[in-house]
Amino acid sequence: MGTAARRKALRMNAFAWLLLFPSLIFLLLFTLYPVFGSLKLSLYQADLGTPEPYFAGLDNYAAMAEDEVFWKVLTNNVWFAVGTVPTSIMISLLMAIFANKVMRAKGLVRTAFFYPTVIPMIAIGNIWLFIYTPDYGMVARVLEWFGLEGPNWLGTQSLVMIAMIIMVLWKEAGYFMVFFLAGLQNISEELYESAKVDGVPAWRVFWRITFPLLMPTTLFVSIIALTNSFKLVDHLWIMTKGGPENASNLLLYYIFETAFSFWDRGMASALTTVMIALLLLLAALQFFGFDRKIHYR
């Protein structure tokens, strides 16, 4: 390589790194360093009882394995995911198929399904707290018309999770709908026309054409829904604080409690590390498992 060419390459490299420099600083400070910081602090005993943190090996993880609340929030998270991911996909797919074909009030229908996306989770918590209030809430009123007395949704251990799942379905379905709408628009109209000419019934058209061709979108949406089931916890602060008896508590909210209510910094770091591991597992699943079936533009 000539000196001139080398000098030019060097200059381009320097320029590229200068362009990246601002982003890199913030990424290092608030993504990379916190990840390793958590890993390190998780190996220390650092709570209110230990003014000077000391190295404790895997003690925090051992305590975590013994901690009933930890297993409770983890199982809750699994149920939360099981309750929200497949159902929100089904509902949003239905919404998209309908919103794609409907003639009357098309814009209005889409707005009705999508608007919860732009409302903060904390406001949704406020609204649904009222909806679920015994005797006076919207659900209780509707049940009253049918002569039924509704239960205390948020105060009953066996019901609170279902109540949360329904609320999150309401929040997310319209958001996922836009992905399916985009997916539907990519399916060629000719396929449907030839199916119509051959007199194929509508449900077979769905299972043979629409559903398989939407598969990439479906997998893609499931990943977002799954990640969201770990991230959505704001509503807990306003609605239940994780109760009753941790029946609605989720991993991220438990991290929040451990760090900022109990001030157990070592344990909060260990829990954060578990969370990171779970999310990396999800990412790995996506990259090595699903990715070949998902097409990107």
Binding site: L19, P22, F26, G37, S38, F114, A123, M138, D234
Partner: protein, 267 residues
């Protein structure tokens, strides 16, 4: 026939979906004494709103949220444009590793790093400041990937022409790429603004004083100051105050919002 029934059911579903909002608005504009009654009357009042506005410093909260949202996007605009340009147009050493670091931010979002990031903020003495709320979001991998996609679609002849005119690469970025990538910036902006307008847990942890609290935290604290269910009129009014700007924005720019949120799923 089947079609008519299923269409009917979907219209009902759409109605059910709007019910929570309609009910919230209904309660907020009704006199307080009627809040718990199930009778349907058409009494209308703004008292709940004036009451809320004087009972809690919502003006300060509003200003704070606007400053935070605008501050985050202003910095993201700069950092993401620059990084995206490097990824889209320049071959440099270590490109793949840096790319992985950006991917890491998408896989491990700041939302779940609340505790370690709190520690970083404490070490930087930025607790209970607006800058502290903003700073973890100054680099946006989402923005970088979105803009990079867009930049890559721009024809290479454009920058060659600009280079012949005597522009250097830095000028090519700001004078040619940024203006041409406007649709991507609109998507980026809408997603960023709605995300940070709605963010709650992080500002809750970071802030400690009214001067720095955003709307979401203010609303939550306001709602918690009452016994459950005792003050529906006030809390629904406060909720509407918080959600109104984004909701109105969405109603007006419906199409842009929906298209933008499609990009927000980028991985």
């Amino acid at each position: 026939m089947m079609k008519k029934i299923s269409y009917g059911l979907m219209y009902i579903l759409a109605a059910v979906w709007t019910a929570p909002l309609v009910w919230t608005i209904w309660t907020a504009f009704r006199p307080k004494r009627l809040a718990l009654s199930s009778s349907i009357t058409f009494d209308f009042t703004l008292v709940n709103f004036t009451h809320v506005w004087s009972a809690a410093p919502f003006t300060t909260y509003y200003i704070n949220t606007i400053l935070i949202v605008a501050g985050i996007f202003a910095v993201q605009f700069l950092t993401a444009s620059m990084a995206a340009f490097a990824f889209a147009r320049i071959d440099f050493w270590g490109k793949n590793i840096v790319f992985l670091l950006f991917l890491a931010q998408i896989m491990i979002p700041a939302d779940i790093l609340i505790f370690p990031n709190y520690n970083v903020l404490r070490d930087l003495s930025l607790l209970d400041t607006k800058l502290g709320i903003m700073i973890p979001y100054f680099a946006s991998a989402f923005g970088v990937f979105l803009l990079r996609q867009m930049f890559k679609t721009l024809p290479f002849e454009l920058d060659e022409a600009a280079r012949l005119e005597g522009c250097n690469l830095w000028q090519v970025l700001w004078k040619i790429y940024v203006p041409l990538a406007r649709p991507a910036y609109i998507s980026f902006g809408l997603v960023s603004v709605s995300y940070h307008w709605n963010n709650f847990l992080w500002p809750l942890i970071v802030t400690n004083s009214i001067e720095n609290r955003p709307l979401t935290v203010g609303l939550a604290i306001f709602a918690q100051s009452f016994e459950t269910g005792a003050q529906w009129s006030e809390v629904t009014a406060a909720t509407i105050i918080v959600i109104l700007p984004l909701l109105l924005g969405f109603m007006v720019f419906q199409r842009q919002f929906m298209n933008s949120f499609i990009h927000s799923g980028i991985k």
